[in-house]
Subunit: 133 residues, 2 copies
Amino acid sequence: VATVEELSREECFKLLQYRSYVGRIGFVIEGRPVVLPVNYIAERGSVFFCTEGGSKLSVASGGARVAFEVDDSKALYHSGWSVLVLGTAHEVTDADELARLRRGPLKSWAVHPSAHWVRVSIDTISGRRLPEV
Amino acid sequence: VATVEELSREECFKLLQYRSYVGRIGFVIEGRPVVLPVNYIAERGSVFFCTEGGSKLSVASGGARVAFEVDDSKALYHSGWSVLVLGTAHEVTDADELARLRRGPLKSWAVHPSAHWVRVSIDTISGRRLPEV
C-alpha cells in the first residue's frame, strides 16, 4: 500500500489538459448524486463539454454546483492519479463563444456539436497521485 | 458522432465485475457533489471499497445516497461504455463480514485493508455503450 501524494495546482492543470478526452461530471438530482462520463476540453479556467437538450446532464447546466473528475491508473503497478474540479455549470449562450467552441478541437464522441455546450468554472482544483510501488 | 446504446442489466453487472479495480464514487457534502476514485469489488448486489477514517469519503458511509461509476474508452475509435450504480452507503461493521472482506481478493492500492470498508447497495444499475464508428 503506497502513500497518496497531493498534487500541486500546476500539476493538476497539466493533467486536466493532458487527459482531455474523457472526464466524469458529478451532479445532484433531487438530492442524489449522479456521475456520467463526458468528452471535455479544459481552457481559460473552465471545463467545457457538450450535452443533449433534455438529458439528465442538461439539468446540471443551470447554475448547478458540479464536480468534474479525471483520472488514470496502471493496474499492474497499483498506481495512478486523479484530479477533481469543483465548480458551477452554466450553459454557454453567447453566440460568439458558441461559434468558437463548435469550431474548436473538441469533438464529442456522442453529442453533435450543434447541441448544448456547458461551461464549468474551475472554482477549486485538487489532485492526488499514488506512485508506483 | 455515434448513437449511444443502452446496456442491459446483465451487461451492466458483467462490466461492473470485469472492471473491478478502479471506479468512481460520487457523493454529496454540504449540498455539493464530489467524485473520487476508489478500488472496488462488486459482488452479491453490492459494491465494496475501503476508506480511511476521517477522509472526505468516510462521511459518505453513514447511510448516504451515493453514485458509483465505471467506464472504459478507446480514444482512437471514439468508443466506450459506462455503468452507473445508484445506492446507499453503509460502513461494514459485522465482524465476520469484515474478516471475509479483508481476506478477499480486493487489495486497495491506497488504503490498508485494516481500514474502514463501505458497502454500497446496488439499488439501480444502468449503462451505455458508444460503439466504434
